[in-house]
Subunit: 115 residues, 4 copies
């Protein structure tokens, strides 16, 4: 198994197939699962001081890692069952954003988006 | 730029630095951004027939690819600013799920989770 | 306590004040809390057969009621701290939708929204 | 039409029935719609300074009101189609929280929840 998105994709596909879970993994259900996991990630940080970021305590970091992993896992499955190439899609989006948010116009502007 | 998560991570970090957006990219703000994008993905499929999945129409697939890319982009940034290695976290989670959901007990059981 | 949104709003405001939680109840934090609870609601139904609806089992209904309550509670707090009148806002939105989605053009059209 | 949750519930039910949208309004689909709208609310505030709260600018408040209304509308529909009484559910939850988070133990503790 290569440690890559493709490796994880294949392993997750096999995992679902072995358990006969493919029928649950529709695009709709997986999109719902992504919102569920995204909500869990948000819940970990909802009352936190927004200035926090560097000195996250180890227990919180462990939970954040677990939630981030869940989102990635469902996102990989979602892309697989809908026939999307995640890395290509992300690369194309970043190319678009490079054009859309020029450095000179976007510097430090909170209204702009992220990339 | 390699076409890999690491390549995207570095490119996104540079993108944010050039625009002086790093101060907006706190763990908390990025977690919120992930929920926002996850909600947009869900909105694309909320009224769809859940049996759909294979024959997604091209316009919808384009939109799904764009939303999935946004989620991945923010997730990569989130992992970067919190010091998490996304692939390792996902791999560990799948290892755990391999133990947790044995093939024999999980086959076809809708109550179980996904992997 | 009247059994009304206003009654709940006042009770929740007192609840937060007594615990010195008002400083955590910023619009931003409460919006995050709403996404967290919405994610929990979605998680309850993510693998369910979409045709389900009438014959929900009692345990699931109890959990759905609890999650729906959490969303409403945070939504009431959100409206309170941002100075919004939830019922008026909803009424205005429905008035708009009445004009926007005429009965004759919208009948049975899955692309349309809900109201 | 009374300006109350019950009034809105009945109006929304009629709105859906007239457009033959009831078949789209399954618990699952409505839960997804709630996450979509919650995500839109989060997106409005994701880059904002968390200390903001009182002096929200009028345009932002209008958008927040619109998003909050959408969440409430779908939540009312969700409760209606699943046979839940939103106000009773919320009241019960607040009663529970009164017992769970005593004033003396919860004062100013960020780890605690909200009510």
């Amino acid at each position: 198994m290569r440690d890559s998105l493709e490796g994880l994709r294949d392993r997750l596909a096999r995992f679902a197939a072995e358990r006969d879970w493919e029928r649950f993994h529709t695009p709709k259900n997986l999109a719902m699962a992504i919102t569920g996991e995204a909500g869990e990630l948000a819940a970990e940080l909802q009352w936190s001081d927004p200035a926090d970021g560097l000195g996250i305590d180890p227990d919180l970091r462990t939970r954040l890692g677990s939630e981030a992993a869940d989102i990635l896992i469902y996102l990989i499955r979602f892309a697989d069952v809908t026939g999307l190439d995640l890395l290509s899609e992300a690369k194309r989006k970043i190319d678009d954003n490079d054009l859309r948010y020029s450095v000179s116009l976007s510097r430090g502007n909170a209204d702009k988006r992220s990339g």
